[in-house]
Symmetry: D2
Subunit: 341 residues, 4 copies
Amino acid sequence: MAKNIAILGASGYTGAELIRLVSFHPEMSIAALAADRKAGQAIGDVFPHLRHLGLPDLVKIEDIDFTDIDLVFCALPHGVGHKLVRDLPEKTKVVDLSADFRLTEAETYKKWYGLDHTAMDIQPDVAFGLPEFYRADIAKARITANTGCYVATSLLPLIPLLREKVIAPDPIVIDAKSGVSGAGRGLNEPMLFSEANEGFKAYGVGHHRHMGELDQELSKAAGVDVIASFTPHLVPMIRGMQATIYARGDAETAQQVLEATFADEACVDVLPLGGIPQTQHVKGSNICRIGLVPDRIEGRFIILSVLDNLMKGASGQAMQCANITLGLPETMGLPQVPVFP
Amino acid sequence: MAKNIAILGASGYTGAELIRLVSFHPEMSIAALAADRKAGQAIGDVFPHLRHLGLPDLVKIEDIDFTDIDLVFCALPHGVGHKLVRDLPEKTKVVDLSADFRLTEAETYKKWYGLDHTAMDIQPDVAFGLPEFYRADIAKARITANTGCYVATSLLPLIPLLREKVIAPDPIVIDAKSGVSGAGRGLNEPMLFSEANEGFKAYGVGHHRHMGELDQELSKAAGVDVIASFTPHLVPMIRGMQATIYARGDAETAQQVLEATFADEACVDVLPLGGIPQTQHVKGSNICRIGLVPDRIEGRFIILSVLDNLMKGASGQAMQCANITLGLPETMGLPQVPVFP
Amino acid sequence: MAKNIAILGASGYTGAELIRLVSFHPEMSIAALAADRKAGQAIGDVFPHLRHLGLPDLVKIEDIDFTDIDLVFCALPHGVGHKLVRDLPEKTKVVDLSADFRLTEAETYKKWYGLDHTAMDIQPDVAFGLPEFYRADIAKARITANTGCYVATSLLPLIPLLREKVIAPDPIVIDAKSGVSGAGRGLNEPMLFSEANEGFKAYGVGHHRHMGELDQELSKAAGVDVIASFTPHLVPMIRGMQATIYARGDAETAQQVLEATFADEACVDVLPLGGIPQTQHVKGSNICRIGLVPDRIEGRFIILSVLDNLMKGASGQAMQCANITLGLPETMGLPQVPVFP
Amino acid sequence: MAKNIAILGASGYTGAELIRLVSFHPEMSIAALAADRKAGQAIGDVFPHLRHLGLPDLVKIEDIDFTDIDLVFCALPHGVGHKLVRDLPEKTKVVDLSADFRLTEAETYKKWYGLDHTAMDIQPDVAFGLPEFYRADIAKARITANTGCYVATSLLPLIPLLREKVIAPDPIVIDAKSGVSGAGRGLNEPMLFSEANEGFKAYGVGHHRHMGELDQELSKAAGVDVIASFTPHLVPMIRGMQATIYARGDAETAQQVLEATFADEACVDVLPLGGIPQTQHVKGSNICRIGLVPDRIEGRFIILSVLDNLMKGASGQAMQCANITLGLPETMGLPQVPVFP
């Protein structure tokens, strides 16, 4: 029997993408869609592209009966998940797309998000939602904290290289670029078409809040403290993300490690040495594609990691985690053929 | 057992979209991919977004053994289909995306395409590939001539209104707009990013070659000769098509006819009277969405018809036809949830 | 001595474009910039692209001393101009970019804008700001009501053809398309990059408020009531506007009338018969470019009129009017070389 | 009397931009436009946006009489300039936008461009066309080798910091991004709208040919060999370029050096410490805008340098050099107000 799914935060872009994915899924069905400010509206009024699918209207979270819900996707702003998850029935699985459960230390959460972590008692039961490295944890956990988009893009190539000590932990430079949908659906002037189109800019330079999560996982992989230089940029496209990573180490060894690590992974595609991936070639799919190119400077190389920020960077990966935690085949229902052009 | 599919013209955009659709399809598998100039290349070299799918290399058409092929999608330039289709085994079904079999009169084909129609003997066995109106024909035919993108966008609302004599056959103005992918992958200056982006233009004004097909079908529906004013335009987006149609008649009656006609159609979505569709809300899906708005001038109204030119305007509709002609459920394998944003 | 210019509404896109134009102008200098909600801010905080120009900070309108101001550009929302203009010194010239003074009948203003026209006593002294047809009026008037962007695009070809009775007054279909900057800088969801990019839609179908102005001027030109079908659309580009106009008449006569009308006009460029203009080829300039193509239907033709909505559609034309009313050469300071690509 | 200008390579994007700039210039007039393959055509056929300007038709270079030409802009492909410049009259000044005269060593030229440098005898008389650092040389030189776009973007902040030894010469990481117009008007598949739009990619990773020029100038500034990691990327926008530069040193000292260096420069705008520039805010102008942000890692900072690749990255800077070498005011005729939005 199909699993009953609730999506909380269904009026945002990651929510819409989750609806798309659950609709494709042969073993899942949408039981409830919540969006507090838009509660009471038909989904077709909030997202006209979904109007023909016969979906339930949006409701308030408090009006959902979670009794028969097998899994909840939380696509809510940072800060509301701690209380919310505590109040859910014990047997309900949760995949949380916010940062609320990604950081294992309360101080780190406070530092980067300016909020108290009020669910530290639950935190030890949370799996870090990067399936390629935490698959077993996710299978057992009640709660999975889906990795952020910038962090997933960076960690997928960096974790194996740091674990295997193929690259030096310092300096690592991560120059990252995101499509505009990563900023969500909130109204602010820099995201207007006339402001964002035909332009390029950095933002959050030196202090972007995804850094806490990045430091935690890079350090864990390396076994020593790793602090990377990380600069996010905004690209005038809707979907897509790239990390250009500058590292020290032997390029051929690094290539071998990446190939070996991801040989059997359905959602990570390592190009041959010297190959250059493009974001548009993974659009709409749950693929992270990685290229590694030797620098002309001896002993250095450049890693290019691309994904669709709404898919492998958010909702696609959340579905991958959901499949794992529900005991379903990991890529079930994931449309792995990119939409190009 | 899955149907064996060959795609001829696999290195173009409609070819790539067909590969995407066949890959999703639970009852089809790709047996051969042909692209004459790029024969011998891996599909991943021609379309990097498809490299991880384990597809066969591109071959020449003449090197395909059609013996076990159940259906051929022809996504080739106009003019090569006549001979090609004649040479295929009798039992092989064909869905042709070119204009080669769309026109029932040899002179009309010659007039608009400048070529002799060399397969007039086969022509009577061809179904016109617009399933909502020619479903029974398609089910029986060996060859289906998939309707062109501009023509499908226009015919879906106009055929029922002309058949029911709800609108006057003259004047009908069709102001049509297409995303750039409709121009294909050929190299020419106006399609360069720096030329096409941030701009808008008409083209083929007064003499676009889709007019032959349009006249034929509008006249057949009306029972009298219908010649519409038709102007195509290029919009700086990859996918998407809209026809804005100006007609005389009673808006409410027209709305009722459209709603009745498409009530049970899975691929056509009629908005409530006054509703305005947007191309981005059907992107990636096989949906044609139609809105009808009364003009402020008594007795006139405006129809807005949108679709994804590579899907319901080309490859998606071709798959719909293929399902019908193979006896499969009509929308099997068609991803009907648009990719938005 | 340079003319002192005040720009009211300097924090919007037409305001920014006026600043650009006054900065180029050899005989004008910026004396005051007003933007009520952003009063007190440096222009560089509101428009970073202007930060290096040494411009005055934004102030409230009431804090401007208009004594030495030679001309005021009002780039304010509809509805505030009536009182404002009345309170300005008698000798101060005004070019108003809103609709407040475009309509000569109070009822018409009320009908389309939902507001009372509270300055009907001043209205008779207002010139309609379309210099190619109202140049003498503008030279004498204290106030010029700058023509709206859609209306200018449509009127430039249609006024001479209606005046000369080359086209029938009915039916005229105007299918118009605008870049997103025409919607201004206000925050609303459909103008977010992720919503507007890669999409196309109509809006205000059947009841767009520019219709009042359009009716007034078309009827005046024809000498009989003219009501055109008019549909605006949104194109995913920042700047640019096109009207595709369907009319009945003799194409060659119409071409001759257009060529004769605009032969000596610096800001209107008529292409040879059959020529197709593109919006990107007039971007950043004050040029309206017009093409006329015979339809395949005898006795009908299609007019394609393009301009930059922020230039000849708004601020450029306002500068043209300002030059005229101040007795300066009409194109002084107007950068007439488009920015392409 | 106005200077007579010839533009060689007038059918490319930098050629078109030069025409725009010369048209604005009060002391220059266009005497000849050359484009070998398109010789004989009207400029309006090659660049419709220029058709209303009364410009001369395109001719072959060999058909130009250079006798009265004061200055030649060479906007030709790499490799043809050596012979060409040698054959020009002694008194004709040259600003060359290609790489032919940028490298002072023949071997370096050969290494990066694969061609023999056949004008090494002239090379010592060439000025490096980066006016902020080579102004005096340019004033005296007959030939100026206009700096490449990526290199100008990088050198403007890096030269003063290396000269003053504020940053360590190793490692320097330059992660650079360019709009698509930088690729020119040549026909190739990756530059088609449908391929380049809605995507992001690196290219020339590890071996881009601008590296020779970069090494030369960085090393000269530092007084020791400097080899930076440099990765160019393609952004789906027409114009605009950014270099994100990662360096070691004291951020406040670096900020002071940048502010002092460019305090009196009209074409370089240094933001306050922590400021983030955007490419769209310098579009159409000859401004390079620089921001410097401390990294969270002690002793490191990030420089963000943006410009319009066709202006300060190519034709605008060429005009700046031309003004200097002709003894005119340096920014004469340069439209310094960006076109935004």
